[in-house]
Symmetry: C2
Amino acid sequence: MKFATLKDQTPDGRLLVVSRDLARCVDASAIAPSLLHAVQHWAKVEAPLRQLSDSLNSGATAGQPFDPQRCSAPLPRSPQWCDGSAFLNHAKLMEQAFKTPPIPDLESIPLMYQGASDDFLGPHDDVALPSETDGIDFEGEFGVVLDHVAMRSTPQDALKQVRLLVQLNDWSLRAMGPREMRTGFGFLQAKPSTSFAPVAVTPDELGDAWRDGRVHLELHVEWNGAHFGHPHGGQMSFGFGGLIAHAARTRRLTAGTIIGTGTVSNSSRAVGSACIAERRVIEMIDHGEARTGFMRFGDRVRMQARLPGQDTGPFGVIDQHVVAAP
Amino acid sequence: MKFATLKDQTPDGRLLVVSRDLARCVDASAIAPSLLHAVQHWAKVEAPLRQLSDSLNSGATAGQPFDPQRCSAPLPRSPQWCDGSAFLNHAKLMEQAFKTPPIPDLESIPLMYQGASDDFLGPHDDVALPSETDGIDFEGEFGVVLDHVAMRSTPQDALKQVRLLVQLNDWSLRAMGPREMRTGFGFLQAKPSTSFAPVAVTPDELGDAWRDGRVHLELHVEWNGAHFGHPHGGQMSFGFGGLIAHAARTRRLTAGTIIGTGTVSNSSRAVGSACIAERRVIEMIDHGEARTGFMRFGDRVRMQARLPGQDTGPFGVIDQHVVAAP
């Protein structure tokens, strides 16, 4: 099943079921008013939602054209957002970039920070930020939306609680990052609101591309219309099972919790990067200096996970402009 | 006004208005179903809630006995929870205890971490934790519940958005803290669910004890029936205005966001501490070794902010046992 959320006057928006080809959709709010509600009542709503989805995909339900411009994030807010840094290629490069002290247990314990989850951005919302001097950067990622996860779940059990897969941009302000890391208290000002692609999908929609707790798709990133990178999600050093179990080590996670991969990053330089900071540190290594600046107001970033050999993907497109906050 | 939340079958619970002396209460769910709903619709509900509160306090409304045992946290879940470390006396002692690198800008920029807000504990709920070897510790604190705060608000404007004051216990697992600080990603496993005293109050209820964006009350802490500390909230190095503005530097905060002080801590050793870790570092300084162990399953901690010369306080009492998670 594929879902999106139509913006309305409510904080959680209105649930849409979207056709497999993302061309059409149908209002599903008679089954569950919002996608958050659906995830929080999954056992009850899964079967009727699947029936509606099947009917839409078969053409028995005509539906209406799907317009991502009218969508918020699939979950405009969620109970919790924890973002990993599961691509160690990225984590190791960032250590060099930030010149922070060596991260302990990097190979054996997932890195993860607690993010704000009260105010997510939709795929075409403007990204209002206070200053160009803050080092505005994008971070292309994948994520999972969870059902309830018990404290001390194993990675195997944790993975069974994945209800939806999502694609996201974890906006970052690089001027704040290193200082906040040095405090030991983690990111706060360095992490403004996160953006999401319009469509959340159940894992079965990915077929073989969802395996080993990893999304095996390339994430294509364009900055101001130019190709920036297309790293592959399959190279996660920790799978989602391990990430979720890490988050649930000392607490239960309520339904609707989102766990992210951190910036998708591959060891091959030929595929480019999914954030500017990573390109900059590679430039420093190669040329002794960073040559690429961070984003300016008016800049545009486009992100799309793609099926092999195609220019479409299951989650739709994030396509946003960065603007000056009022 | 004073508010509490009756546990029911809903995630946000049922709104109660509580009498000034905490003896009686009245169901206010006809005005707002939950306290979270009230905070998110403050302009609309403040006047009718005040009318009901006045009627309860005057005796015109009889109400019923107030039973904190039946209460959850005033907000059993909230959109966001950011906890400061605004008592620098504590922060400096903890630097010594954790042997972490010096924290940059400690005197000028507030320390703050993003906490989980999806699953708070009530004042008499058992605290289920996975292991005694994790270094189970309490942290007595004050907090504020906010209306919407705009991005880049000044401390003065930010303070105007305070709707409620709360008292809380920011449970901490000390075995995880230093390692998570060294990663730079901040606390995650080190911070299980936070507990709250039963009653949230509007700032006017504190009279002169709410001034300069600080709660000028002693926080009395007992561990297994023995006095542990009674530090005073007025010694915050940063007031709530500064803490809120820090959190809103690069993002707007949605209504219902909670900001905490961090462990209440005074420079005078005569008043004791509001967490075990702080007592342990003082023991290390004084005796060369920590003599006090962390909590064991079955242990009990009681916290109560008190009015000068009285053994009662505006928020009621947190009184919990730590138990082994199933």
